[in-house]
Structures are given as C-alpha cells and as structure tokens.
Amino acid sequence: MQLTASTLQVSQGTPPATRTAMEQRNAAKLKGRKILIVDDDRINIRILSSILQNEGFVITEADSGENALAQYAAIKPDLVLMDVMLPGVDGFAVCRELRERHGDNAAPVIFITAKTESDDIVEGLAAGGVDYLPKPFRRKESLARIRTHLQNRILSEQQKALVEQLKAANQAKNKLLGMAAHDLRNPLASIRGLAEFLCDGTVGQLTPDQLDLANTIFETSQSMLTLLNELLDVATIEAGELKLHKEPQNLSDLLEKAVYLNNINAARKNTKIVYSPPEEAPIVRVDQAKIKQVIDNLLSNAVKYSPPGSTVNVRISGYHPAYTVAVQDQGPGIPENERHQLFKDFMTLSSKPTGGEKATGLGLAICRKIVEAHRGAITATNLPQGGCEFSVMLPA
C-alpha cells in the first residue's frame, strides 16, 4: 500500500486537526522540493532524512564538503542543510563557495550546530547561511524552519519570474506604442497640412465659420502630432534605442536658429525671446537634432508659461569643457512641492500655459533623458525676481 501524507502524519503522532488549513496547503506545496543534507555523521543524516522524507521532500546526502559541491551541481537542490564540522573543507567554506558560484541564485543554506556553539551560529550567518538548526533536532521546529526558508525561496523565485514578465510586457508596450505612434503620424501630418491649405486660402476663400472649423482641425491635429512625437520619443528612449550621433557643434549657432524660429510663435503672445551670444564660440560634441529638440522644448515652455508680453532671456555661460544654456522665463516659477516631479514622465504641474497651449507632460522628461544621455545635467531654479531658470549643462 502506498503511504499518503496523511497516514504518515497520523503514524508520526501528529493529529491533522492541529494543523491549520493554511499550514496544510503550504506543506503540500513544498512536497517534492529537493534538500541536500551535508553531514559526516551517518546518524544525523538518518534522523533528518526520515523526518524530511516523511514530509514528501526529496533528499540527497553528502558526507564531505567536496562531495556537497558535486552533489549541489548535480541535483540543484532547493535548500541545503549543512553541518559545520566536515572532513576537509568545512561547512562555512562550502557555503561561501556556493554563494561565490551561484550568487543570489544559490539555494538557502541552514547550518546544523550544537546548541551551545554561538560562535558557529554567527560565523555561519556571516558565511551566507540563512538560519541554523540546533542539535539535537526537534522535529517540529526543524520542519518549521526548513519550510519557512523553502517558502521564502519560492517567493523570491516567483518574484524574479514576475519581474522578468513585467520587463517583457513593458518592452512589448513600448514597441506597440512606437508602432502606433509611427503609423498615426503620417496621416495626421497630412491632415494638418491639408487643413493649413484650407486656412490660408490657397484653395479658395472660406467663410469665417468655415475658417474657424478649418483652424480647429489644424490646431487639433498639430497638438496630436506633438503628443505622438513625444510618445514615440519616450518609446524609443525606454527601449534603449536613443542613439546619439555626436558631432562638434557650435552651441551658439544652434541657439540662434532656435531662438529665431521660436520667436515666430512667441510673437503671437507678444512675447520676446532675447538671446545674447557669448564672445567665444562654444563648441560641444552633441547630437544636433536631439539638442535642438531640448532647446526648442525649453524655449517653447518659457513662452508657454510666461504671461503674454514677457521677455524670455537666453544665454550661454561656462567655458571648455562644459557649457551651460540658461533659459529664464517670467512665469510663476516651480511650486516647491512639485519640483520633484518636474522631469518625470506624464507629470504636469499645477501651473498652466498662459495662452491656451497644450502640455503633454512628456517634454521635460524627454529633455532630461536626452541631456543625461549626453552626460549633461538639466536643472530648474526659481529666480528671486520671479520666474524660473532652466539650465542645461553640456560637456564639450
């Protein structure tokens, strides 16, 4: 007749009623787990083996340190019970060696010690052991300790698997996001362009009502396009595909162009961007398009959050090997309690654009990622006279 776990427990004198339902479930889950017992004392091994086998564990034995390492490699146990005093290599050394070889994936090691050897206990824990079993063995206590550590191991394995799953899921999400954004961009760009043709009268004069509708189509597709581009950037950056093509660039020229273009938009709010170039040409090794994106973002933000009629001041400071672009606005500044989320994904602050512009909450997060990929730094400081200064430090 095959012995079932319950008949064994009865024969061991443990009435099932003393176990809670949860304990029973946990015990069942641990059945079949592999335990390696390392001890040169045959009697110890026999006692432990019989206790553990009755609980459904699969036992392998080793009588020396060398043997233990070989058995470990062969069966990959879920837990190791290790005597300290072994012929040849001692238990501590074996434990250290296991951690050396397998790192955090090493099975938990429980040392077997005589009750009084407290030095052994300390050294065992220092060698990477997770616990100790005092001799003589008390069945219930030994089992409880062994189960606890097996359960911890299972939980940590499950956690690792979960983290891997989540990583894969996040990658898949980024890929999908990238594909969707990419495929939506072209048609949207055409819609924007065609609406613009309607607005500017190229294809015939519109009535004021029609013009209003066409303008709405133009502006809406424009802001959708911005959002899509930013989503695409986030997907690219998160997927680790932000590739920089660094070439020596005159930072001042980059700024001058960006200031010129952004002033066109700023003029609609009667805001002026003023740039005072430095005396010496600041040459930095950067990805031109990416840094242009950062500068554009800072300039358009400065215009966006400053009241109409403001002046945005832009300058370059520093000298080789690091230059700093500083953009000063006349907006409300960054509320102190929101400062920590300024450069995070999808974080918009309580301050709102002053001309009905849109904020996606991605612009500064992307800026930070681009600047950091250049080994630079981006910071924001409130100015004593009001407003805020965003500065980007770039190594030459």
Binding site: R185, N186, S190, L194, F197, L225
Partner: protein
Amino acid sequence: MKYEGKILLVDDEAHVRKFIALILKQLGATAIFEAANGRDAVEVFQRESPNLVLLDVNMPIQDGIQTLREIRQLSTDCVVVMLTSLANRQTVEEALSLGADNYIRKDTPKDEILASLRQTIAECFTTD
C-alpha cells in the same frame, strides 16, 4: 521663384500626394505626375522624363531606394528628393549615397517643406 518643369511625385499614400501636390502648386508647378509605387514610378519616369522627382521610401511592390537606383541609371541629372516619415539616418544616408539630392520629412510643417523645396530647386536648377 516659379518652377515650371515636370515633376514626378511618388508616394503610396494618397493623402501625402494630395498634400505635397498642393505645396508644389504653390511653387508654381503645373506639370505634376503621380505614382503610387516604385514600379509605376519608373514607368512614368521613362515616359515623361521629369526634372524633379519626389520619392517616398517605404512603398509596396518596389521601395524608394530601389526606385532611386533605377532612376539614377536612366538619368543622372534629374533632381531627386526623398520623402521620409521618420528621418531614419541609415535610410537617408543610403539614399544620399545613391545619388538623391535631398530629403524631406513628411511631418514637417508645410511652410518648411515649401522653403526646403524652393532651396533645392534654386540650387539645382540655376544655371548661371
């Protein structure tokens, strides 16, 4: 400046052709021929011998890069401007090395596309 030569506009997406064609008309172009894939483009090219080709990269049947190769075998002096969605650096570099004269990102605002085309035309068609 006005551009009155023949233009071949190649893109598989009708909305892009419509959009770019409007820009070309603003440039003064009147003779615009269209094709929706590379194979048709080569056919139209042989028939019409345009001076300017606007060529999409990603197209069914035959892509823009292969089409560029074939066009360059037929003519070395027509001007070819690639139309790209995201300016994929590798694709752009490959196209330029195969003899494309310039490229335009299709998601660029219309006035910038207009300016860029004007510049290309001024550079490539001014004989003095």
